[in-house]
């Protein structure tokens, strides 16, 4: 069955530190990949998405992700985090007739 794994459940960083959140999926066919963010008290927002083309995708707020097909991975990165990046981050995979989310990673950034 298709699944999405986010191995980092809780990440704590200081401001200006670099961030990388892991996302691996299991599905052998063509997929669309997403990262969503949920800020405290708000709804999910789309950070970035990959459908095809350049595997390095740039999103909002300085986030980027790289699709590595051979590793079934779509890791999220940001070179320098800010306190306002404190949120829950979800990786999602859109396979045929399915939209599958990972369990989420809680990011806490301290000043």
């Amino acid at each position: 069955a298709q699944s999405v794994s986010q191995h980092n459940h809780h990440v704590i960083l200081s401001e200006a530190a670099s961030l990388e959140l892991g996302c691996n999926y299991s599905y052998g066919g063509t997929v669309n990949l997403f990262w969503y963010v949920q800020y405290p008290g708000q709804h999910l927002q789309l950070l970035l998405k990959y459908f095809s083309g350049d595997p390095l995708v740039k999103g909002i707020k300085g986030f980027e992700a790289e699709f590595i097909k051979s590793k079934f991975s779509f890791n999220l990165r940001k070179p320098s985090v800010q306190w306002s990046d404190t949120a829950e981050y979800f990786c999602a995979v859109n396979a045929p007739y399915k939209l599958i989310f990972g369990t989420g990673t809680r990011l806490q950034v301290f000043p």
Partner: protein, 115 residues
């Protein structure tokens, strides 16, 4: 069950027909969300329930869309007189608060195709 359950997983309907989508949240989760994702786009918020009340219906795209939740459990999303632009994956999520943090759990979605 252990997770959020949505049914049907796949629905094909004709333009103009009504459809009803169902979400069974995790037992004890008071918050329930409906989102949709149309082809090539990100998630679009539809409605949020806290218990049986819906304090935020701001995302419902038209009066053809309605949702209800009974007994702080099952929720149904109804789309009347479906249009082709309603084709999307409709996603349900429920959540609970622990340690001041809201933890979301997702269903696997209902793929709606309007012909």
């Amino acid at each position: 069950g252990a997770g959020v359950s949505q049914s049907p997983s796949n629905k094909v309907t004709e333009k103009g027909k009504d459809v009803e989508l169902r979400c069974d949240p995790i037992s004890g989760h008071t918050a329930l969300y409906w989102y949709r994702q149309r082809l090539g786009q990100g998630l679009e918020f539809l409605i949020y329930f806290q218990g049986n009340s819906a304090p935020d219906k701001s995302g419902l795209p038209s009066d053809r869309f309605s949702a209800e939740r009974t007994g702080e459990s099952v929720s149904t999303l109804t789309i009347q007189r479906t249009q082709q632009e309603d084709s999307a994956v409709y996603l349900c999520a429920s959540s609970h608060r622990t340690g001041g943090r809201e933890k979301l759990f997702f269903g696997s979605g209902t793929q709606l195709s309007v012909l």
